[in-house]
């Protein structure tokens, strides 16, 4: 298993505040990694760094073994990384189709939208790539969907644009039990198609269900990095709570 994304000794300071210190970990191909830690451990900063919103103060990222620098969101998107934030993934007042193609619209050479084509692709993606129940049509406004359906649409978007790593920021915090199950199954299904996922979460139980490996952060650095086979929920909880 080769390493898709690696973080090498990354530090990040905001003025006098050091958010990350000498952080290194990697994400393999087709691997599901749980990035765990309590509030203030530096998880969000790490997510923002991987998605190109922050630049490291020291250290660097590499993709496929090649050193890279993400200067903005679209750099990480070009490298195949899609970040799905809890509340900022979709626009409620637009249809599913328009959300899926937001910022990457299919247009003719005058910039006019190829609407029927985008609509057809959306229908196909919703049917095949992700299994979302209860959606009538791709013209449904995203504001009318439930939390789980919204997340599924965001994942469908990532799948359609052939992303290799999904970065899911607190994916289960607003979902019902059933929606959580569906989401976790989705992650496993994508893994079977060789798409890696990073679950950034508080919820060790959800992470334990699907992750192959766990990276635990505390005070801006990694304190534990372990395969699922070599650990237990109790041990993970101890590391999150005690550090």
């Amino acid at each position: 298993m080769s390493n898709l994304l690696e973080l090498h000794n990354i530090s990040k300071s905001f003025g006098a505040l050091t958010a990350l210190r000498n952080l290194s970990f990697h994400i393999g191909e087709g691997e599901v990694v749980g990035l765990l830690g309590d509030n203030g451990a530096g998880k969000s900063t790490t997510v923002n760094l991987i998605s190109g919103i922050h630049k490291p103060t020291e250290g660097y990222l590499s993709v496929d073994g090649k050193k890279t620098l993400f200067t903005c969101r679209s750099d990480s998107a070009d490298a195949g990384i899609e970040t799905i934030y809890q509340h900022t993934a979709l626009v409620d007042s637009l249809s599913i189709t328009r959300n899926i193609f937001m910022g990457r619209e299919l247009t003719d050479r005058f910039g006019l939208l190829r609407q029927s084509e985008m609509r057809e692709i959306t229908m196909e993606v919703l049917q095949n790539a992700v299994h979302i129940s209860g959606i009538d049509s791709p013209d449904t406004l995203v504001g009318n969907l439930s939390g789980g359906q919204k997340q599924a649409v965001a994942i469908a978007r990532a799948v359609h644009f052939k992303k290799r790593i999904l970065l899911l920021d607190e994916p289960t915090s607003a979902l019902s039990v059933r929606e959580t199950e569906a989401l976790l199954n989705q992650v496993l299904k994508l893994k079977a198609e060789n798409v890696s996922s990073v679950l950034v979460t508080h919820n060790i139980y959800h992470a334990y269900q699907v992750c192959d490996r766990f990276v635990i952060m505390s005070h801006g650095t990694k304190v534990f990095d372990v395969d699922k086979a070599d650990t237990t929920i109790n041990q993970l909880t101890e590391y999150v709570v005690l550090n």
């Binding site: 970040t83 626009v91 007042s93 937001m102 910022g103 006019l112 299994h131 009318n144």
Partner: protein, 339 residues
């Protein structure tokens, strides 16, 4: 997993069974369309029943309507695009007057109107860009920034030309292009129809429009997907300024002069038209057809009240009621998450 195609087919047959009324209500701007059509039917019926007392269908009245609509229409289109992008522009009334005075005085100094008018539009675009720059650069509410703009450019009109009216004597070709008639239809009205069609395609059929809706609907999400929301907002500010100048050209060509105080209050009427047309004050929702219907509704009601010889204050009270009702209605729709 139920196949979506089949779901959709069921959905379609269900909607077919729904009444035409419900189908119209479900369309963007459907509700305002119904209100507008009802008003038209009542007015036309009234005019046919009492042709001498209620001269709604008289050629004079229709001409007045066609001449009045384009000015507010231009202002509302610009203000509306900016509102959908999630910002306000209160300065458009003042910009409208300032650019008109500028254009008229240039023509008075011997410049061709065909040069002065584009200069007016460029000035409007630049003022819009300035509003946008200040708003975005310092992260201020556009309400405050453009409130400053409203006062500043109102003062600038007086500084530039004093409190006197400016005559506008362009080449006859220019006048006929902007206030002549074609097949009995007022030229300014043809302009506004063309602009509405153009804006409809820009906002609902073009990539840029999708970015405007995304920026106003959820700026963080738009940015996360790689849309340059600062640029989208800047362009929307420029459009608002440019359309204010366009309104100035149409008004000035029609009247043949500019009054230094003529734009006062128009920015609020433009925003009112947008709200009546179904735009959300929080951005991200609305349609160009809705904005235009809002403008038509304001002018139809104004016209009817004038024809009925109602005193002027009724007009303001009526429009005020309409705005609040429209806002309540939009809010209810937003809470349901439809439209």
């Amino acid at each position: 997993m139920t196949p979506i195609l089949a779901d959709n087919a069921v959905h379609r047959s269900r909607t077919q069974r729904q009444s035409v009324l419900k189908q119209i209500m479900a369309m963007p701007a459907g509700a305002i369309f119904l209100v507008f059509m009802t008003l038209q039917i009542v007015c036309i019926a009234g005019a046919l029943l009492y042709p001498n007392e209620f001269r709604y269908l008289s050629p004079q009245n229709l001409t007045i309507l066609m001449k009045a609509i384009p000015v507010l229409g231009c202002l509302a289109l610009g203000a509306g695009v900016l509102m959908i992008a999630g910002e306000f522009d209160l300065s458009i009334g003042s910009v409208y007057t300032f650019t008109a005075v500028l254009m008229a005085s240039l023509v008075g100094a011997g410049v061709s109107a065909f040069l002065a008018a584009p200069l007016g539009i460029v000035t409007g675009l630049l003022i819009g860009l300035l509003n946008g720059q200040i708003t975005i650069r310092f992260g201020l509410p556009s309400f405050i920034v453009t409130l400053g703009g409203l006062l500043f450019w109102r003062g600038a009109v007086l500084l530039y030309n004093g409190a006197v009216q400016v005559r506008f004597d362009p080449e006859p070709v220019f006048t006929s292009l902007f206030s002549g008639t074609l097949f009995g239809i007022n030229a300014a009205f043809i302009w506004i129809v063309l602009l509405v069609v153009g804006f409809h395609f820009l906002l609902h059929r073009h990539r840029f429009g999708n970015h405007v809706f995304a920026t106003g609907g959820n700026r963080a999400a738009a940015e996360a997907i790689g849309i340059n929301t600062r640029r989208v907002k800047l362009i929307a500010f420029a459009v608002a300024g440019g359309m204010a100048a366009m309104a100035g050209i149409l008004a000035t060509a029609r009247v043949g002069s500019v009054q230094p105080g003529q734009g006062a209050g128009l920015e609020l009427q433009a925003i009112a038209a947008c709200v009546i047309g179904g735009l959300s004050l929080r951005g991200g929702r609305g349609s160009i057809i809705g904005i235009f219907l809002g403008v038509l509704l304001i002018h139809t009601i104004t016209d009817v009240l004038l024809l009925l010889r109602a005193p002027g204050f009724y007009l303001d009270m009526f429009i005020a009621t309409l705005i609040v009702l429209a806002a309540i209605f939009n809010h209810l729709i937003e809470r349901r998450g439809v439209a």
